[in-house]
Amino acid sequence: MTILPRGVGFPTEKVTYDDQLSLGFGRLIVRFHGAEQGVRFSIEETHVPFVVSSDCPAHLELACRVGPIETPTSPPVFTAGESWSLHRDADGGEDIVFRGGLNFGTEVWHLRLDRSFRRGWLVEAPVMPEQVVRADGYPLLEYIVARMLGRHDGLLIHASTAILDGFAYVFVGHSGAGKSTIASIAEAAGARIPTDDRTIITVTDGEVMAWGTPWHGSLVRKSPEGAPVRGIFLLQQAAFDRIEPLSPARAAKELFVRLIQPRLEAGEVRETLRILEQIVERTPVGLLKFRPTRAAFDLATGAG
């Protein structure tokens, strides 16, 4: 399927799947399947490249259906404004209720994860006329992946990624730092851009890899492609181009505050710090002071 280069604010087509749907992010696979017969799933076309074979073993199996949401009776242990709340079960599982609509007044999804985070249940309220489970719903899917990565050797960070000659260059920054700008420059220079806003970084057998995600960004350049990381750069717009290497200690702190992680569970946070430690010990991290020109990207890749 060709993904049209549509920008934010333009409608995209929905694609529907019967009975089951598996999505892959980095090395992580989440499988949605019907908790009863006849359950259908939908995703935006931007997520279609992230569909993987249902034969792939999943890290998380979610049994899904459309139906009324039963609000957990236990008090929430955490609320993210009005948009979602987390409840803990006596058996160590978690219940998360996501809200939407006007003033977040409507309960949209109820996600229940067992203690192992290997199995879960998802109910979508019948708020949409299609009566399908929106597997890519926001912030549902990003929440699931961010939590799961904290248990599977990975992390999700505010970063665009450019892949050139088989290596990934990761450009990190909060909104406005220039992630999309440097991605556009890199693309013009011949790089592929699997994401211009959210990057997954994994460490497997000592190898640091960066992967695309379907989330956010100003352009629809999204693919699940991954590549070994050759450099990580904190973006800072300037009147000149220069790379200032960061010590691993500073790099770890700078990257940590740019992660997308709810920080809900101590074990996940410790694991994230462990992964971060491996990343900064294996990968050069620098502050890229840059002008929005090709020279900045060449400097990052060593071509300048």
Binding site: A252, F256, R263, A266, R270, R274, V280
Partner: protein
């Protein structure tokens, strides 16, 4: 129960922060998106006291821990422990309890 001003106050670290030594930095991470700052770096002495705060401790006991590891006068050690605890209380990183004397 009416507490006397002479009551002993003990402190113990709460479960809303995670500590990990990461690339040589003693990092303290706030869980549950507590506060504006997600991340703090402790000094080696702060890390020593944080470890000690796994058990209920008085400032004097924490000062003993400092004195056993570092060459520091008793008075300075107690003051350092109190200053550190004050910061942890502000961060809501420790629990407190009073033991009647």
């Amino acid at each position: 129960m009416i507490m006397s001003t002479a009551d002993i106050v003990e402190y113990r670290r709460g479960d809303s922060y995670v500590y990990r030594l990461t690339v040589g930095e003693h990092l303290l991470v706030a869980l549950h998106a507590r506060g504006d700052e997600p991340l703090y770096a402790l000094t080696p002495t702060g890390a020593l006291l944080w470890e000690r705060l796994a058990d209920w401790s008085t400032p004097e006991q924490l000062a003993d821990a400092l004195s056993s590891e570092y060459e520091v006068g008793r008075e300075d050690a107690v003051q350092d422990a109190r200053d550190f605890l004050e910061q942890l209380v502000m961060l809501q990183a420790v629990q407190t309890r009073r033991i009647p004397t």
